[in-house]
């Protein structure tokens, strides 16, 4: 069971949250200049590292806001919680 520190509500059980997958994806554009391969990359291809992963979470059963988490996908240890829009923090 993860204990996730929502930036607004404090530490809560993981069952209150939804994981929204990889963070820091940027929509390519404008659309008429984007090739099919780049669209496919944006829509479907994901970083899926064994180890440190930067991902979005939603406090679905709480304040209902999105935020970012840096988490280890093997140990599940949460390294940093940071706001949407902030750059990727360096983690060890």
């Amino acid at each position: 069971m993860l204990l996730i520190s929502c930036p607004h509500c404090g530490p809560r059980d993981e069952v209150e949250f939804r994981c929204g997958g990889e963070a820091h994806l940027t929509r390519p554009g404008p659309p008429d200049t984007v090739s099919d391969d780049i669209w496919a990359g944006y829509l479907f291809m994901r970083r899926n590292p064994r180890g440190l992963h930067y991902e979005r979470w939603l406090h679905a059963a709480g304040c209902r806001t999105w935020f970012n988490v840096a988490r280890d996908t093997v140990t599940h240890e949460i390294k940093v919680v940071y706001a949407m829009g902030q750059p990727r923090p360096e983690c060890t």
Binding site: D13, C19, M45, R46, R47, N48, H76
Partner: protein, 416 residues
């Protein structure tokens, strides 16, 4: 190595002679025609069909742990082909048909038990969906029958079908050819048969790099036991597919999740059908040893931890206790998780990768076990002939660029 027979069993039973190992313990050579990364069911089946169907015996299967120790040994052993789209139906029914003849083909008892796979609906809406699925599956030429609540109760007497049930039963459908098979036996049977045909099975050999020539073509692999050159490389590593893709320098639409299962203490036979509840996602069957085998939905975030998290385990066990009240007091013996490779459209990826000479067999998500014979058959076909088999063609990686997805996520009766 000799075949297995009743006479052989008698001879070994009476004599003190130990059984010979089922497959050769091989050391890596410098070069093979085909190197297969991953000694699970799909990798071993690919090796077997390369040798058996195409006469390509200069093949090595590289496994970083022991064969069948990943998802092949961690699933709930269910086989079925009740898929919605014609492409999927052709793929999974090829697999089920191969399973139906596999014990004889491999001379290895895979303990296939076609006890039926029953999907249960718990609301008016689920029943509408079930009717649609069952009709589509039948239109695909695969056996499926609608069931009334009375028939559901008759097939699974311990299932709570009472009017006051928390999840009342509105009906369901069954694929009678579905059922279970012994998962370890599938891995061991393919390993034994492939090894007999000359395939090298190399355990404790972790692939650390994909070697490429200046034109970009894959030329072999770097491993924890040295360099191995190959004309063709196949990756069949399920939840670790993106790790291999990272080595080769391309990306896959794959996310790795933990999928849990658990078994209870063994009890006398109480359930002779596989049950899937659409309301809770619960899968239940009873193993030949008598253990109740429980599975459910994926864990909810990316994971390479082969453990599973507690909330999902609680959901699975809670659903079992609610829907099979008589099981509520059983003690659980073991719980575990496998790391599965989930793709957005919940269909596998078969065929060429962006790296020439490197072939993909991945993306089976939560349903790889049932697909082992077909995955091996089709991958071997592509590697041996240079062309994808007609059944595999719709499942190429290109579909994510062309948009021709085969979206089983909502259609196959399981959220994988």
């Amino acid at each position: 190595m000799g075949g297995y027979s009743a006479l052989g069993l008698l001879r070994h039973g009476l004599g003190a002679k130990a059984w010979p190992p089922a497959w050769r313990e091989a050391s890596p050579r410098e070069r093979y025609r085909v190197v297969i990364i991953g000694g699970g069911g799909h990798g071993l089946a690919t090796a077997y069909y390369l040798a058996r169907n195409h006469g390509i015996r200069d093949v090595a299967v590289l496994e970083k742990g022991w064969i069948g120790g990943g998802n092949t040994g961690r699933n709930t052993t269910i086989v079925r082909s009740n898929y919605y789209y014609p492409e999927s139906a052709a793929l999974y029914d090829l697999s089920l048909k191969l399973y139906e003849g596999l014990s004889r083909e491999l001379d290895y008892n895979i303990m296939l038990s076609q006890r039926g796979m029953m999907t249960v609906a718990h609301s008016r809406h689920e029943l509408d969906m079930v009717r649609r699925w069952a009709g589509a599956i039948r239109a695909n030429g695969i056996d499926s029958e609608l069931l009334s609540p009375v028939e559901v109760a008759r097939l699974a007497p311990l299932f709570d079908t009472s009017p006051q049930a928390r999840y009342p039963v509105w009906g369901g459908f069954i694929q009678r050819r579905g059922g279970t098979a012994r998962h370890d036996a599938v891995a061991w049977g393919y390993a034994r048969a492939a090894s007999t045909l000359g395939v090298d099975i190399i355990q404790n050999c972790e692939v650390t790099a994909i070697r490429r020539d200046p034109t970009g073509r894959a030329t072999g692999v770097g491993t924890s036991r040295g360099e191995i050159a190959a004309d063709s490389v196949v990756m069949a590593v399920a939840g670790h597919s993106t790790a291999v893709a990272d080595m080769a320098g391309f990306r896959l639409p794959v996310t790795s999740y933990a999928l849990q299962a658990m078994v209870s203490e063994p009890v006398k036979p109480v359930l002779d059908v596989v049950v899937l509840s659409l309301a809770t996602g619960l899968y239940v069957s009873q193993s030949d040893k008598g253990e109740m085998v429980l599975g459910g939905a994926l864990d909810l975030y990316n994971s390479y931890g082969q453990r599973g998290n507690l909330p999902t385990a609680i959901n699975v066990a809670g659903a079992a206790a609610e829907q099979f009240p008589a099981l509520g007091r059983l003690r659980m013996l073991r719980q575990w998780a496998g790391i599965v490779d989930v793709v957005q459209d919940s269909s596998p990826i078969l065929g060429e990768s962006p790296v020439p000479g490197l072939y993909i067999n991945c993306g089976w998500g939560t349903g790889g076990f049932k697909a082992i014979p077909a995955g091996g058959w089709l991958t071997a076909h592509h590697v041996a002939t240079g062309h994808s088999h007609a059944i595999a063609t719709p499942f190429s990686l290109r579909r994510f660029t062309t948009g021709a997805l085969i979206d089983e996520a909502a259609a196959a009766g399981i959220a994988h």
